[in-house]
Structure formats: structure tokens, C-alpha cells
């Protein structure tokens, strides 16, 4: 389709000609986190299926669930989930026409990324310490 287009000037705002800014980063992250969460949903389904298969099957994999890999998996999934959740709520506020001023929109983008990271660290810390104490 665009094969015989000779004009070197950019036709539309492609990623490589844009200066990175926070709302652009959060838009890309929203899409990427959504796709990652779909994969996490597949893993959650398998986890519930392992649970339904009975204690024998669960015990076979429980050393994986209760390992640093399991803790990291929880950290990553919860961090991405909380990010996507907060950014999604912001998208719905944006749909109503509010909070769209560039300064506020950019500030919130950074704030949501930082808040998601802090919440993920806190929840993982609480989880690991409660499991360790049991």
C-alpha cells in the first residue's frame, strides 16, 4: 500500500518522530499491561484448575508457588494489574472530559506508575511475610 510513497517526511505521528512524554508512555504501558494481564489470566485459570485437581496435584507444584519465583510472579502480576486498574479508572475520568489539561495528565501518568510500583512492593512484602510466618 505505502510501497511507492517517496516522500521522506513523516506522514503521521510515528513513535520515532515523537519526543517521549508521560501520557504517551502511559498509553503504551496500558496496552502492554493489558496484553500481559491476558497471559496472567491464563496462568490464574491453570492455577485454579490445579487447585480443583486436588491436594496431590497441588503439592506437586506448591514448592514452585511458594518460592522466590512465585513471589516474583505475584509481584509482577499485582504491579501490572494495579497499574492497569488505576490507569483504566483515569481513562474513564478522561472519557468524561475531566483531568485532560497537559500538566495534570502528565503528572498523573508518572504518579500512577510510581503508585503501582509502591503498592506492588507493599502487597508482596505483606504476602511474603505472612506466608513466612505461617
Amino acid at each position: 500500500m505505502g510501497s511507492n510513497w517517496n516522500d521522506k517526511r513523516p506522514m503521521s505521528p510515528h513513535l520515532q518522530v515523537w519526543r517521549w512524554h508521560p501520557t504517551m508512555l502511559s498509553s503504551i504501558l496500558h496496552r502492554a499491561s493489558g496484553i500481559a494481564l491476558f497471559l496472567a489470566m491464563i496462568k490464574l485459570s491453570i492455577f485454579i484448575a490445579v487447585l480443583a485437581a486436588g491436594p496431590g496435584t497441588f503439592m506437586k507444584y506448591s514448592s514452585l508457588f511458594y518460592s522466590p519465583i512465585g513471589a516474583f510472579g505475584f509481584f509482577a502480576a499485582v504491579g501490572i494489574l494495579v497499574y492497569h486498574l488505576m490507569n483504566g479508572i483515569r481513562h474513564m475520568i478522561w472519557d468524561s472530559g475531566r483531568l485532560l489539561a497537559p500538566k495534570i495528565a502528565n503528572g498523573l501518568s508518572i504518579a500512577i506508575i510510581i503508585a503501582a510500583a509502591i503498592i506492588a512492593v507493599l502487597l508482596t512484602y505483606i504476602l511474603v511475610s505472612s506466608v513466612g510466618g505461617a
Binding site: 496484553i35 494481564l37 491476558f38 491453570i46
Partner: protein
């Protein structure tokens, strides 16, 4: 009076509205609201169950509240996830590849949703 203002060329190319954009937009947001309510409950459920190991998780799903939260969550999540994947696939792929990916997204969503639902019901009914 003419009511169709499209050029013959645009009609031949088949470009234009598919008429279901509003439904997609609203359904995506309604499922998002359901997820916004169930996600905190789900995270709390996982964190409260994890120290109890196998028994902890099973006890959570055996309680009607836990089963209800999980069933609502996985249903809304696979609906919302398929809706979002569809959006991304339509943005980046054309032709046969697009059709194949849309089909894969649909089949994977339905398959793993059913796996989750059956597993939850099996545990809940076994209580």
C-alpha cells in the same frame, strides 16, 4: 432526495463504520467497572488464602462469597481481555493474519474461561 452520500469508490472498498463501535465502547467500560470492584476483592482473597496453602485457597473458593468473586472476576476479565486484544489486533494486523489472531483470541478466552469456571464450580460444589 439522496440519503447515501458515499462515493461509489468508497462503497466498493467497503470502508466505513461497522455500526458496533458504541456497543464495544460501552461493554469494554462496563466490564472494566466490574473488574474495578472485583480486583481488590481478588487480591485480598489471594493474600488471605496464601498462608493456608492448599486448604487456604480451597476454603476461600468453598465459601460462596469467594466463589462468587472469582466467577464474576474471571468472566469479566476474559470478556474485557478479549475485547482489548481485539482492539489491538485490529490496530496492527490486516487480512488473514488479523482473522487468525481474532479467532485465536476468542478461542483462548473461551477455553480458559471455561477451565476456570469448571474448576471453581468443582471446588464450590465439592464443599
Amino acid at each position: 432526495m439522496a440519503t447515501d452520500f458515499r462515493t461509489p469508490m468508497s462503497r466498493v472498498k467497503g470502508h466505513g463504520s461497522a455500526q458496533d463501535g458504541t456497543h464495544h465502547y460501552i461493554a469494554h467500560r462496563v466490564s472494566a467497572i466490574i473488574l474495578a470492584i472485583t480486583v481488590p476483592l481478588l487480591i485480598w482473597g489471594i493474600m488471605a488464602s496464601a498462608p493456608g496453602g492448599f486448604d487456604g485457597f480451597v476454603e476461600y473458593i468453598e465459601s460462596t462469597f469467594g466463589a462468587l468473586v472469582l466467577l464474576t472476576f474471571v468472566t469479566a476479565a476474559f470478556y474485557h481481555g478479549r475485547s482489548g486484544l481485539t482492539e489491538s489486533i485490529l490496530d496492527y494486523f490486516q487480512g488473514g493474519k488479523r482473522m487468525a489472531l481474532l479467532l485465536v483470541a476468542t478461542l483462548v478466552s473461551i477455553g480458559f474461561w471455561l477451565l476456570a469456571v469448571l474448576s471453581i464450580l468443582r471446588i464450590w460444589l465439592g464443599a
